[in-house]
């Protein structure tokens, strides 16, 4: 059999999907998207609260350690508090930004 005959024959071999394939697929896609979105939404608040608690705890410890009578960080006692606050604030904002980005990426 000639090559062009084989080509002609194979061109006729396309198999069609069932009539409701696309509708079923779109429904499945919608439901998987909802599950993904819901799972992120469910974890968003706890993660945010834990981050805040963690950052607050760390700031408290850091500020306490910067006190004049604490030996471990006594070398830091002379350090100014404003840069520490700014650093903590930046970390907090960065965490928030990452969480928001994650949420919108998965929700799309």
């Amino acid at each position: 059999m000639k090559e062009e005959h084989i080509k002609k024959i194979i061109k006729k071999s396309t198999i069609e999907t069932s009539d409701h394939f696309v509708e079923d697929l779109m429904t499945a896609i919608e439901s998987t998207s909802e599950v993904r979105h819901a799972s992120v939404r469910r974890y968003f608040k706890p993660v945010l609260v834990s981050c805040m608690v963690l950052v607050a705890g760390l700031s408290f410890l850091l500020l306490k350690s910067l006190g004049p009578d604490l030996g471990v960080f006594s070398d830091w006692a002379g350090a100014q508090r404003t840069p520490v606050f700014v650093a903590v604030l930046l970390v907090l904002l960065y965490s928030l930004n990452s969480l928001i980005k994650l949420n919108s990426a998965v929700a799309r």
Partner: protein
């Protein structure tokens, strides 16, 4: 109003990434039948192939942002179809043999060979392709149906080019043999 046939795959992908699910529907409409034919070449069962295809399109929808526009969307899609189908085949090998798939899927109408209308032609061609090895049927479809080059087929299947050439050669011979077995002199109606 823009005709949907004029919109390229890449434009549709950009729309999907922006959140337009209707664009994804158009993308699916455009590629579903060829993709199903490729999956069927490997799995030899239409309903299993359709389930795999649904899984593939769901995967594609969620991973579309990772598409880099360096190759054609069809090449990227066919690669996922082929990989997922071979994985499914591996999973099924322990339970159902390919021969069982073949006889289950298409045997009931073999007797009706005097009427070679378009639908029947398709039936006999698919029956002949079903009797080929999965690699041969897949390579034949990628080469003649999708009109891909050996290099593109190698990219999709991860087969070495010499193997692809051998599969193409054997596939052509075996298809010819199977069609002659099924149709005898009626084979001329296919051409």
């Amino acid at each position: 109003m823009t005709n949907s046939a004029q919109i390229t795959d890449n434009d549709l992908i950009r729309k999907v990434i922006e959140g337009d699910t209707h664009a994804f529907k158009l993308l699916v409409q455009r590629h579903k039948d060829v993709s199903l034919s490729l999956a069927f070449s490997i799995l030899k069962d239409r309903s299993v192939a359709q389930d795999v295809l649904q899984e593939v399109f769901i995967k594609v929808f969620h991973k579309l942002e990772t598409f880099r526009f360096k190759s054609a969307f069809s090449t990227w899609l066919y690669r996922i179809v082929v990989n997922t189908s071979y994985n499914e085949l591996k999973r099924h090998r322990g339970t159902t043999s390919m021969h069982e798939y073949a006889t289950e899927s298409l045997s009931p109408i073999v007797e009706e060979r005097d009427l070679l209308k378009e639908k029947d032609q398709k039936h006999f061609i698919n029956l002949a392709l079903l009797r080929l090895r999965a690699d041969e049927a897949l390579v034949l479809r990628l080469f003649y149906l999708c009109e891909l080059s050996i290099k593109e087929i190698a990219e999709i299947t991860k087969f070495k080019p010499p193997k692809i050439k051998v599969d193409l050669h054997r596939g052509r011979e075996n298809l010819n043999f199977q069609l002659r077995q099924l149709l005898g002199e009626d084979i001329k109606h296919l051409l």
